[in-house]
Amino acid sequence: MTPRRTTLAAPSTITFLMVLAAFTLAVTVMSEGIGQGVVSTSFVKTLGKTMCLALAAVAMDLVWGYTGILSLGHFAFFGLGGYMIGMWLMYARTELIVLASLSDSTIPATASEITDAVGTQIFGVVGSAEFPMIWAFADNLVLQLLLVVLVPGLLAGVFGWLAFRSRVTGVYLSILTQAMTLALALYLFQNDSGLRGNNGLSGLQNLPGLGHVSQDIVSLWFLWASALALGLGYLFCASLVSGKFGSVIRAIRDNEARIRFLGYSVEGYKLVVFVTTAMICGLAGALYYPQAGIINPAEVAPIASIYLAVWVAIGGRGRLYGAAVGAVFVSLVSTWFTGGQAPDISLGFYTVQWVDWWTILLGLSFVLVTLFAPKGLGGLVDVLNRRSDPK
C-alpha cells in the first residue's frame, strides 16, 4: 500500500517553491538595485506586491476552494494588515522628522511636546492633533507587527463565530462578508476613525531610520520578504490541506451535514480556517502596502474582495498553485491594461479604451471560466499531466 503523501513530497508544492525561488533570483539579478538594471524599481515593486496578492489568493483558496466558504470579505483583512504596519511606519518616520526639526531649538523638547508635534503632523489633515486610542502601540514595531495578525484574526473570529454558529451558509454568508468589508470601508472613510479618513496612511515606502538606503535596494528587500512569505504561506497551507484536516474541510465543503454525523464540529473547523486565512491575509497586506506606499479606505471596498474570488476562480479553485497563478496572471494583466500600456483599438466610429473595457473583459472571462472551465487555469495542468502519463 502506498503511504499517504506528505506535503514536501507533493510535486506541485516543490515545483511551486522552485519556480518562486528562481523567479525571485532572476528579478534580483536584473534589478536596478544590485543587478543589470533591466527591471525597473517600480516594476520590482509591482512584482513584490503581486506576490502578496498571490499569498492572499492562496488563503482565499483555503477558505473557498477547500472549505467551501465563499468569503467576499478577505480583502478587508488584507487592508487591516496594511493599516497596522502603516501606523508604525508613519509614526516612526514622523517622529524622526519632528526630532530633527526640534534638535535646533535651545531647550530640549519634552516627551509630550514631541508626541504633540507628531500628532499634529499626522492628524493635521483631518483637523486633529490628538492620538486616538488605537495608536497606543504605534511607536512599538514588535507590538504593531503582532497587531498585523491579531486584528484581522480577532475581527474574523468574532464575525465567524457569530455567522457560523447561526449556520449561515452559501450566498447569505457571502453577502454578510460583503457587508462586513463595506462597513469597515465606511468606518475608515470617516475623518474621526483615527486613521486619517480618506487620506489614509501615506509615505509607507520610506522605512524609518533607513532614509539613506535607496528605494532600488528597499524594493528588493520587500521582494525577498514577499517571496519568503508567499513560499512559507504556501507551504503552511499545503501542509494543512494534505492531511486529515484537509480531508475534513473538503468534506465540509462537499456535504457539511454528513460530516456532522461523523462527530465533527463543522462550526469549529470553519472558524479555524476563517481566522487562519484572515491572519495570512493580514500578513500579506502588511508586506503589500509598504511597497505601494499608501493605503486608503478605498482599498477595502467590497469590490476588492470580489476580485480576490475572481482570481481564485480563474486560476482554479481547490488547488493552491491555481490560486497563486490566477492572482499573478490576472493582476499583472490588469496592471498592463489599466496602466495605459495596452494599445487602444480604433474601430472608426468608436475607440476601445482598455482602461474602461478591461473590467468588462475581466468580468466576461470570469463568466466564461465559471461556465466552461470550472477548473480554471489549473485545469490546463491536468490536461498536460494526462498527456505525459497515458494510463
Binding site: 500500500m1 502506498t2 499517504r4 494543512l240 492531511g243 486529515k244 484536516f245 480531508s247 475534513v248 473538503r250 468534506a251 462537499d254 456535504n255 451535514a257 454528513r258 460530516i259 456532522r260 454525523f261 461523523l262 462527530g263 465533527y264 464540529s265 463543522v266 469549529g268 473547523y269 479555524v272
Partner: protein, 246 residues
Amino acid sequence: MKTLLEVSGVSVSFDGFRAINNLSFQIGSAELRAIIGPNGAGKTTFMDIVTGKTRPDAGRVIWGDKSVSLLGLSEAQIARAGVGRKFQRPTVFEDQTVRDNLILALKKPRDAWSAILFRASKADLGRVEELASEIGLWERLDDPSGALSHGQKQWLEIGMLLAQDPQLLLVDEPAAGMTPAEREQTTKILVEAAKTRAVVVVEHDMEFVRRLNCKVTVLHEGAVLAEGSLDHVTSNQEVIDVYLGR
C-alpha cells in the same frame, strides 16, 4: 438487558402535519432491531430526532448509563456520544478516496487541532484495511469513492459506521440497490455488529428483515403500531391492513 436508548412520548410536526405522534421506543445495549412501516410512516424522521437533526416538539430522548438527554446536544455531540448513522441515500465524500473516507470515520479525537496533528499509525491503517476487506472494497482503497457503484457506496457507508465504533447504529435502508449476495453479506455484518452494540435497521424488504431474525417494530403514521417477532407482527390484523395488505 440494560436500556441504551429510551425515546418516550416524542412528537414532531412539520407545518401542522404530525410526522411523529407520541412515539415511544427503547433499545438495549446489545440488540438488533428492525423497524418497518409504509412510506411516510416516520422512520427516517425518527432517526433524525435521535441524531439531533430534527428537534421534537415534545417528549424525551434519554441516552446511555448516565441517562443524559440527547435533546440539548448538537448533531456532532450526539455522534461523539456514540450514535452512528447511515443515510437512506448513500452519502460518502465522493472526491476523496475510499481510504480517506474510512480514516475520516475512524474513532479518533474530532477537534481541529487533533486533525492537524493526525498521522495515521500502522494500527490505524491496518484497521482501515481490515474494514475495507470486510466491506469488499480492499482493492478500491485508493480510488475516489465517487467512482464506486451505488451498492459499493452503501458498503462504504456501512464501513464508515463500523470505523466510528458507535454504541448505537442507525441504519436506514441498507439493502437498497444491492444484489442478493450483497444483501446476505450486509445481514452478516449487521448481525455481527449487534453482538457488541445496539443496531436499528430500517428496511422495506421483508426477506431481508426475516434474515435479521430479530425483534421488529412497526411504525405507522408516526407511532408504534406493533412490536414483537416478525411472525407476531405480520399476523397482526392492523399491520396487514396498513402495510402488508397493500
